[in-house]
């Protein structure tokens, strides 16, 4: 099947553009960058069609990476239906976003077309790592991809490296991710200790027989990694700041693909989780809490990208609820539909920002549906999809999750439904503020985006509308995951749809019909709390960051590094010099003192000889 071609094509694009891109024209850069990703997508299609209805994974072995004692680790790629779904999403949506970027990044300032080639090189590198992550047949290859996408995220968030807030955001993303990665690494150690291997096949075969405490620990540690990568409580704080990167980056990495890696990893590890109920419960609780929490923050944000960033955190929470309630297929289903409409929302906001030459604040927008009609309509498609209006994509996936939540624990269903309402509210709040009413900004010519940017948007809009209907993901994945009790309850469905409609209505009411209603309804303290994201960043700063930095500066730097290590090194040198000074005083130039020393030596010798011959003298 030549699976290796799938990640290697983007990697080739990265190498060519990275090494030679600065000499290429934009057209040549595009050729390698977009061409490699589109070719990779084509190869994925060929692989999927070639494998047909597989029920067990198709594994390809490339080389033995680690051989140490009785631990063997191979660099293997494996494809089963779950992998196929992920591959299609990553390469498909990835290709669309690459095409979009041609238009979005066309007018950057600076040398080499503002780092045009660098952007596409990093984007290709990201695709490579993401595909390695998805194709990996053992935890370590997955981890390689995991770390790699983290690196690319850092590089791309900090793409405008001359802006401090961008580089700070990149640092924050990487460092917070690192905490999660620490959990992942510990999980891998424990997996090896428990099962003697990191291979998916071996581990998942042995998992049912392992003690529950071990599985729970592994599950929780893997979850820690997932919360870092997929921006759940408590490690979600990097995602809103990551909006400092260019909008296509937000769409690709922080909506459709990288942040879903955590969901993919936990879904892939379902044999571990199904035998560790405590860990699965934790996943569900964290998921629903994050979903609700992030949604409440989203309703008060003014930066259009931040609204959708918190929306991403919230929707990822939904996916984890699905996984945590045992509905793995539903979780992946929502991953797919979310990729469609969230990428569309971000790319659409990119289009809006492009139309307004860089304006991102909702308060300075308004009435744009006259100026950018295409953008308006595709955004509407995304909006109804995310609000869960039937028969569009979001409805099917969100409903599957909520149903499973109800059967698992009803309170999760109710909280999820409320969150769905809030979701619809804040998404349409953003829509109404941007596209309706009077234009409140300063841009003289808000202009529609070029075709190269609009075409992917249209494709994504079509997918957002019809995708749920066309791609019946849970049925497709039914051979991979354990079955779950289906219980179609029309009442529950109706309630959740009603919540969505109510949210849209409230938003219309507050931002179109009666704008002054918004101000009069807001409770000052509550609004400040939510607008400032519950001060979580500030709390983290005082409780974690400042003590660590301060402790590191005082203890590790001053005491350990300067005091002990430098002190040791310099101290040895100083002592050597002091000994030298003492010895130097012997060279007084005074012949008589030399004579005295000679006498001293000879007396010692006489004593020594006398003692050596001591027996004879007696």
């Amino acid at each position: 099947m030549q699976l290796w071609l799938i990640p290697l094509l983007p990697f080739a694009g990265f190498v060519i553009n990275g090494l030679f891109g600065r000499r290429f024209s934009k057209g040549v850069v595009n050729l390698f960058a977009i061409g490699s990703v589109v070719l990779s997508f084509a190869w994925v299609l060929k692989t999927v069609l070639g494998l047909g209805d597989i029920t067990s994974p198709h594994v390809e072995h490339y080389f033995t990476w680690i051989q140490s004692g009785n631990f063997t680790l191979n660099c293997d790629f494996a494809v089963d239906r779950l992998t196929e779904v992920m591959l299609l999403v990553v390469t498909g949506v990835g290709s669309l976003i690459h095409i979009y970027s041609i238009g979005y990044m066309a007018h950057e300032h600076g040398p080499n077309f503002g780092g045009y080639y660098r952007f596409f090189a990093y984007l290709n590198l990201f695709m490579f790592f993401m595909l390695v992550l998805v194709l990996g047949a053992n935890f370590l290859v997955l981890f390689v991809g995991w770390e790699g996408v983290g690196l690319c995220s850092y590089l791309l968030i900090g793409f405008y490296f001359d802006k401090k807030f961008a580089t700070d955001a990149g640092n924050k993303a990487f460092i917070v991710n690192r905490i999660g990665d620490f959990g992942f690494a510990l999980a891998m150690f424990y997996i090896f200790k428990s099962f003697g291997s990191l291979d998916f096949g071996t581990v998942f075969q042995k998992a049912p027989g392992a003690p529950e405490s071990a599985l729970t620990l592994i599950g929780l540690l893997l979850l820690l990694g997932a919360t870092g990568k997929s921006a759940q409580i408590p490690l979600y704080v990097w995602l809103p700041d990551a909006m400092a990167g260019p909008t296509p980056v937000s769409a690709l990495i922080h909506a459709a693909t990288m942040v879903t890696a955590g969901v993919y990893m936990t879904a892939r590890s379902w044999p571990i989780y199904t035998h560790a109920p405590a860990a699965m419960e934790t996943i569900a609780v964290i998921g629903i809490a994050t979903a609700f929490f992030a949604a409440t923050i989203g309703i008060a944000q003014n930066d259009i990208k931040k609204v959708f960033a918190y929306s991403t955190v919230s929707q990822l929470g939904y996916m984890f609820v699905g996984v945590g309630c045992g509905a793995f297929g539903a979780g992946i289903y929502h991953l797919v539909t979310h990729a469609f409409f969230k990428a569309l929302l971000f790319l659409g906001s990119g289009s809006v920002i492009h139309a307004l030459s860089g304006e991102q604040d909702l308060r300075n927008m308004g009435g744009l549906r006259k100026h950018t009609p295409w953008t308006f309509w595709v955004m509407m498609c995304a909006g109804v999809a995310i609000a869960g209006i039937p028969p569009f994509a979001g409805f099917f996936s969100k409903d599957a999750i909520l149903l499973a939540a109800y059967h698992h624990a009803p309170w999760m269903y109710w909280l999820g439904t409320i969150t769905a309402g809030i979701t619809a509210f804040y998404v349409f709040r953003a829509m109404f503020l941007a596209f309706f009413g009077e234009y409140r900004g300063h841009e003289h010519h808000p202009h529609e985006s070029p075709a190269v940017m609009l075409a992917p948007l249209v494709v994504l809009a079509a997918l957002s509308l019809a995708g749920g209907y066309i791609f019946k993901v849970p049925q497709f994945l039914s051979t991979v995951f354990p079955p779950i009790e289906e219980g179609e309850d029309m009442t529950l469905v109706a309630i959740s749809v009603a919540a969505g409609v109510l949210g849209i209505f409230l938003a219309w009411l507050m931002y179109v019909a009666q704008p002054r209603l918004a101000d009069s309804l807001s409770i000052k303290g509550l609004y400040q709390l939510v607008y400032n994201k519950y001060f979580v960043d500030e709390i983290y700063d005082t409780t974690v960051v400042k003590p660590v930095v301060g402790g590191s500066r005082v203890l590790l730097w001053r005491v350990a590094d300067v005091g002990i290590i430098d002190g040791l090194a310099n101290g040895i040198a100083s002592r050597a010099r002091d000994i030298g000074v003492v010895l130097r005083s012997l060279q007084s130039g005074n012949i008589r003192s030399y004579a005295a020393w000679v006498l001293f030596g000879s007396v010692l010798l006489i004593v020594a000889m006398g003692m050596a011959a001591g027996g004879g003298i007696r």
Partner: protein, 166 residues
């Protein structure tokens, strides 16, 4: 008789040696040293070293000490001044000196509680004939080497001490 001989000349030697060390003017030290060498020559005779005794008087007392006196006269060296003492020397020197003397005395006493007794004529192997025989058979090589050494010394002394020819 031998004892008296020994004691007399031993005391002369010690007193002269003390004088060498104690006198301030170098010329007095030089003359005392001649005295030491002379008494030592007598002691050599007591020990049967006829050749050595003669060599001592001729070479040491007669040549080397005369050289010393010539140099003292040439340099017009005066009495030594009293100023400047080396602290290190005094700190180390006195105890070490006492230690040295004590150690040597100790070992001598230990090694020779009884030992051989010396009387005049007890050893007759120190004649010129015996010395010469050993010198030209067993010790031929050192003999030749020392002749070379003397040659080098002569050359060195001449080079070092001559005036610049200008």
């Amino acid at each position: 008789m031998d004892v008296i001989l020994f004691l007399v000349f031993a005391i002369i030697a010690v007193v002269s040696a003390v004088n060498v060390v104690v006198q301030t003017h170098p010329i007095s030290s030089a003359v005392s040293l001649i005295g030491v060498m002379g008494s030592l020559a007598v002691l050599y005779l007591l020990l049967g070293g006829e050749f050595i005794a003669a060599a001592q008087v001729i070479v040491y007392a007669g040549a080397v000490m005369v050289l010393f006196i010539f140099v003292i006269l040439l340099l017009n060296a005066g009495a030594e001044s009293k100023s400047g003492r080396s602290f290190m020397v005094q700190l180390l020197g006195v105890p070490l000196l006492i230690a040295l003397l004590g150690l040597l005395a100790f070992f001598v006493q230990r090694l020779f509680p009884r030992g051989v007794s010396v009387h005049f004529g007890g050893f007759t192997g120190g004649t010129a004939q015996a010395v010469g025989k050993a010198l030209f058979t067993t010790y031929l090589l050192p003999f030749e080497v020392t002749s070379l050494l003397i040659l080098i010394a002569i050359l060195g002394a001449i080079v070092l001490a001559r005036k610049e020819i200008d």
